[in-house]
Symmetry: C2
């Protein structure tokens, strides 16, 4: 089916925007391909990387944007302020960039408590100062009561990419190892169970963290890092599928090697959720040549945000249609699909 | 009163966010100074310019962000898509930058018509292609019905500033001439009268336009352009006051020289609105040395977005407290204050 057919299909089938058009899954891809890329497409945008890298007078500049609509605004392990800084920092570092500056766009509902806003701004300040990436431009809009649910934040970011660094899923090769920097699915579960409508409590905290120094460390240890991606909306399943599609490869991961806390797994089982598809905000997947995988793993384990790092799988042969296989604990193989629709909206 | 006093005052007096905290007036300044600058402040952000200029490895890079919440999404002369590209382009060019790339963040309400979204994306595409500034990175979020009023857009932008160019209100000097590129108050009136609750119709169209080539032209004609600013929220009164405050000067403008269409004036009088405070989206104020003012004016008049350009006033003596005086048509003098609160929200 060509692109034109797709557009017609999208416009015919869905006359209205659905929640799934924004969940990072298949419907989102449809919307992006059939509206955004169709009308706004160019060589850079079409790559659909988390950060775009452009050449400005001989310098490689990375550029990214992200809007945050997380609900509730405050959750165990973070808040929308911390999230909006970490999210954009992580998008930049996953393309091998050193973040230089952030922008901050606030849209606030009339009647929002100034005390809550102050907490959120303090949190932005703390996170931005911790990684030494200043906010240098901003915008504040206030809209009438009921025109927005409390507060949404957009952050964009710019960074510099060293001439010798090229981090992109296009470089992934058979035999590359897949490494993760710790336990999965905590952000999504923390946000979900922080909502009022959930009447049970857990101690699971969001893993929300800026991964600037972790990525710096691994880039200094190995010249054979091929791709890095933060596993946010759609969880690690989504990143693995995206990379498998782009690089036209088969990836196998081993369930027994995927770090997950017992409590997270218990909540997922109780709610009928698959942790592979649950959002993280401080977890990245790294694809690295096998010969460097052990030293990269060691470097990650020595970092505070990588103590529970594990090699969770490897790239197998080329495959025209990207494919992701999970080797389960009970010895079977399961295909991990691109998820069709996220289990819940407004997780980031 | 020092900053600390101000903070206490803000937090004591207003426990909740008011519409006026986002209208670009005095309350907005309070919020920005007492929360944003207090916690996030740094040498660049504190300048509060429309674009921040930073030095990245020897290149001057301009960076800006803006969120758009205009209501209705479609109005005479434009729509939120065109507006979100023009607004960010204009913020960049007003700091003397050549825009290089834009980011696009969409937050969409569940149930929004895909046909309307397509129109808006087409409009973004057309405007961005007209000025040859591509969108290179983006993000799409969908939130549940009633969590947002249809669609909000954030655009950020980056540009390059030539080493020899420094455009900032800090450079304004006594005797500088003040030039505007055409008739005022059209965007605000067009948006307001496009709303359903207004039961009279006008033909006034938004002046929404990207001013990249207009500004390029004047910068090539004169090396003595001191400051440029697009007169959006708060109208030309707001820009004049901001510049008077920053440069510590007195500015006098002449009512008879300020271009305004008869119909705009009639609607303003009917509604009891002062056109000096009404938003524009394609009008800039230029402060230039008197010896270059005529050739700059001529260059502007030869541009499609500057046909009705006029010299509307000049900078008088230094004044510790910035002051703006209007010489009225009837021969009196009137102080043009910083406006306290915009007459209506969601104009951009």
């Amino acid at each position: 089916m060509n692109k034109k057919d797709n557009t017609n299909k999208l416009l015919k089938k869905d006359k209205k925007i659905l929640l799934s058009h924004g969940d990072g899954g298949l419907k989102t891809s449809e919307l992006i391909n059939d509206l955004i890329i169709k009308y706004l497409g160019n060589d850079i945008l079409n790559k659909l990387e988390d950060s775009s890298v452009i050449n400005i007078e001989g310098k490689k500049i990375a550029y990214t944007t992200d809007s945050f609509t997380v609900k509730p605004l405050f959750f165990r392990g973070g808040d929308i302020g911390k999230l909006s800084v970490c999210g954009t920092i992580n998008d930049l570092v996953c393309s091998g960039a050193i973040p230089i500056a952030l922008s901050l766009g606030l849209i606030i509902e009339e009647g929002f408590e100034i005390e809550s806003l102050e907490k959120i701004i303090k949190s932005i300040s703390k996170t931005s100062k911790n990684v030494n990436v200043p906010i240098i431009t901003g915008d504040t809009k206030v809209v009438e009561k009921n025109s927005i649910d409390k507060l949404f934040i957009n952050t964009s970011g710019i960074g510099i990419v060293d001439d010798n660094i090229e981090i992109t899923p296009r470089k992934i090769k058979p035999k590359d190892k897949v490494i993760i920097n710790g336990t999965i699915a905590e952000h999504g579960i923390a946000v979900l169970t922080s909502r009022d409508e959930f009447n049970f409590k857990t101690n699971i905290k969001s893993d929300c963290a800026p991964l600037l120094s972790l990525v710096n460390n691994i880039l200094s240890v190995s010249k054979n890092i091929h791709a890095i991606r933060d596993a946010t909306r759609g969880g690690i399943a989504s990143v693995l599928n995206e990379f498998a599609d782009i690089a036209k490869i088969k990836i196998e991961i081993n369930e027994e090697n995927i770090p997950i806390r017992k409590q997270t797994l218990a909540v997922c089982e109780f709610l009928g959720l698959d942790p592979l598809y649950i959002a993280n905000e401080g977890k990245i997947l790294i694809f690295v040549s096998p010969e460097d995988s052990e030293k990269v793993l060691e470097s990650m384990k020595s970092h505070k945000y990588g103590k529970k790092s594990e090699i969770i799988g490897e790239v197998k042969e080329h495959s025209e249609r990207g494919i992701v296989i999970l080797n389960t604990k009970i010895g079977t193989k399961r295909i991990i699909d691109s998820f069709y629709s996220e289990q819940f909206p407004r997780i980031c």
